[in-house]
Amino acid sequence: MTVTVSAGLSDLRSFLHGLPGVDKVGVEARAAALATRSIKTSAKAHAIDLAIRMVDLTTLEGADTPGKVRALCAKARRPDPADSSCPPVAAICVYPAMVPVAAAALAGSGVHLASVATAFPSGQAPLEVKLADTRDAVAAGADEIDMVISRGAFLAGEYSRVFDEIVAVKEACGGAHLKVILETGELGTYDNVRRASWLAMLAGADFIKTSTGKVAVNATLPITLVMLEAVRDFRERHGRVIGVKPAGGIKTTKDAVKYLVLINETVGDDWLTPDRFRFGASSLLNDLLMQRTKLTTGHYAGPDYFTLD
């Protein structure tokens, strides 16, 4: 069951449709059961710091300005100005137009710079435009590219078109890491989530990512569980470790810890690192900081003790 990069439509289709099905009730029950794990004291402290290190601190608004992006970069480097033991986040995630500003603000920090490209969030643009978008972002200093797949093409069964697009974008990325956004909220079924995950991995994704954050349903635990199973099985078959990034809707420390438990009990250690797992989030960081302070001081500080950006 190997699929070559030049796989034809029928090969891909038979491979993707030959993957084991996902039982909706079962996968949701499993995710819900894992969500009842009780993570306290030292385990919680460890989880919070790990989660901070996994955050792709994101701003993807029409209203983004250089000032806003610079402020976010400062926060990414030093999330808690009052506590130097607080680790930096994994990356900043911005639109391509903001990449030069972010690149300057992050220089020398070790914080990665991710940019959404390929006509984010809809993906409804000609391939040439998507590739140009990608090349520009990389040229301006992005070392991670978050691309969207053409859900329309995927749902129409044009798997090889989606596949070829990912291959082309991967090539345009050069040395930059490629995260492939499946937009699971538009795929409709867990079976499709599993198929899209495999499609992206076979086409060369370094990461598979749930969502743009711009549709009604973004990251959920069961969807992430299905994607984690996919990267686990992919490594077993192809030996390559692919990262996973849930994005959108993860707002609290409690949420984040549930994702870490999910990793811990499905794919294990190898994914408990920012190189293999990221949270696409904006407001999550402040809750993590608040809980972190609570653990060290024993009391909750008010929201004004944490910076806004």
């Binding site: 099905g21 079962g26 794990r37 993570i39 306290k40 030292s42």
Partner: protein, 474 residues
């Protein structure tokens, strides 16, 4: 590795008395001849309490109290009986944290199960049958179904409070009164329930609880003034009870052992099937009469499935039942542990291949690592006898016909599971399985509205649902 820090539920949420009497006619008293037995925490072997042993005179008193209460209780309008049942259900919900901790202490099951499975189901059963109490005339048993009288109920130790609920709720809803004997190793939640009955101001004598070992139960079911016997437990004891009761005119329902086949076809949703296999055999330490203790895997799927299963089993957390992250708790008793060990050793000596994940077990208490046997055939004892522990026998099959034939080739017939993404296959296979419950793409799911019971040596009669009313109505 992401290690979870201990997350113990507080045991101080529940008060355990140093000694307990019998609950007869609305109040507690010591047994007539002062005999007691000790109930222990199987996770630590620490004594939790001393409990009175009910002798023949005590059982006589309990049955007499139930008989006295029967007249007025059965004469109450159904809607009035429903009020008591609703009240009991609500009190159970309110006190569910206490009860969950108590159940985990006395039984050894993980607090996650007692909290998330046992207690919600217990309350749901009382709510469900409370709803039937004033609708019996429309249940399909004639226009004016009558209660039987005094029900003698003997329950097992694997789900102490849940089995009590399965027995007591339909009996009371239909206007019967009960004398219930909980298992010797797990009497505490039933005695707590007695207190719930008092709190609900249930009339004295409607529910009586007599504690003790097999002798107490034998005397109770043989009692001449009992109209109905309901038993859940081993097939061996069930057979004895059937012998005792036969020819007496007493009504009898038996819910006995099982050796359920969990059938996995090669088009199954594999990750969820693995969860279902784990849940089927390791839930409640495998102390489940309907456990999926025989895994039948289509041969073409055997290797990947077993690899996935082993990988999953390596993440099971065995240990302190009160830790909120524990998946598998303690074996209920030394005797049960000895039986599990004996059958496992027989499995190995008969040539099956034994495997357990690396799994540190506590020094004190009764523990058994989750275990699977591969290379098992129909001829192995571990494929035929109920182990009632966290031990799975794995067999293979080639075609649906062979799967069905093997699944049915057992003296039992309590439950079965079918895993396939093909809907037509689910229906076709389920239709041919001789088992009281067939789960499709899930396992060990319970609901008060769903009837439960066995074929063949798994017993007769149904508990739960509308069907469960029939056992208590004439």
């Amino acid at each position: 590795m992401f290690e979870y820090a201990p997350a113990p539920e507080s045991r101080s949420v529940v008060d355990i008395a140093s000694s307990y009497g019998l609950f007869i006619d609305g109040s507690f008293d010591g047994g007539k001849d002062g005999d007691v037995f000790k109930t222990i925490n199987p996770a630590t072997e620490e004594v939790l309490a001393e409990v009175a042993t009910a002798g023949p005179e005590d059982v006589d008193r309990a049955v007499a109290a139930a008989r006295r209460a029967f007249g007025s209780w059965s004469a109450l309008p159904g809607a009035e009986r429903a009020k008591y049942l609703f009240r009991i259900a609500r009190i159970i919900q309110e006190r569910s944290r206490e009860l969950a901790v108590l159940e985990s202490l006395d039984n050894g099951k993980p607090i996650r199960d007692s909290r998330d499975v046992d207690l919600p189901l217990v309350a749901a059963h009382f709510f469900y049958y409370a709803g039937w109490a004033d609708k019996l005339a429309y249940a399909g048993f004639g226009p004016d179904p009558r209660p039987l009288g005094v029900a003698a109920q003997v329950i097992p130790w694997n789900f102490p409070l849940l089995m009590l609920a399965w027995k007591v709720a339909p009996a009371l809803a239909t206007g019967n009164t009960v004398v219930l004997k909980p298992a010797e190793t797990t009497p505490l939640s039933a005695l707590f329930f007695a207190d719930v009955c008092r709190q609900a101001e249930l009339p004295p004598g409607v529910v009586n609880i007599v504690t003790g070992a097999g002798d107490t139960g034998a005397y109770l079911v043989a009692h001449p003034d009992v109209d109905k016997v309901a038993f859940t437990g081993s097939t061996e004891v069930g057979r004895e009870i059937a012998r005792t009761v036969s020819g007496t005119g007493k009504r009898l329902t038996l819910e006995l052992g099982g050796k359920a086949a969990n059938i996995v076809f090669d088009d199954a949703p594999i990750d969820q099937a693995v969860e279902g296999i784990v849940n089927g055999i390791f839930f409640n330490q495998g102390h489940v009469c309907c456990a999926g203790s025989r895994l039948l895997v289509q041969e073409s799927l055997f290797e990947p499935l077993i690899d996935s299963l082993k990988r999953r089993m390596a993440t099971l957390r065995v240990g302190d039942p009160l830790d909120k992250n524990t998946d598998i708790g303690a074996i209920n008793s030394a005797a049960q542990l000895a039986r599990i060990r004996e059958l496992s050793e027989i499995g190995a000596s008969e040539g099956a291949e034994r495997w357990s994940p690396e799994c540190p077990l506590p020094d004190r208490g009764f523990w058994f690592a989750p275990t699977i046997f591969t290379g098992v055939t129909q001829a192995h004892r571990i494929a035929r006898e109920e182990i009632f522990g966290p031990v799975l026998s794995v067999l293979t099959f080639r075609t649906p016909d062979e799967a069905v034939a093997k699944a049915n080739n057992t003296p039992y017939g309590l439950s079965a599971g079918v895993w396939t993404e093909k809907g037509s296959r689910i229906l076709a296979v389920a239709d041919r399985l001789r088992a009281g419950v067939v789960w499709a793409n899930t396992f060990n799911k319970f609901d008060p509205a769903s009837p439960f019971g066995g074929y063949k040596e798994s017993g007769y009669g149904r508990e739960g649902g509308r069907h469960g009313l029939e056992a208590y109505l004439a």
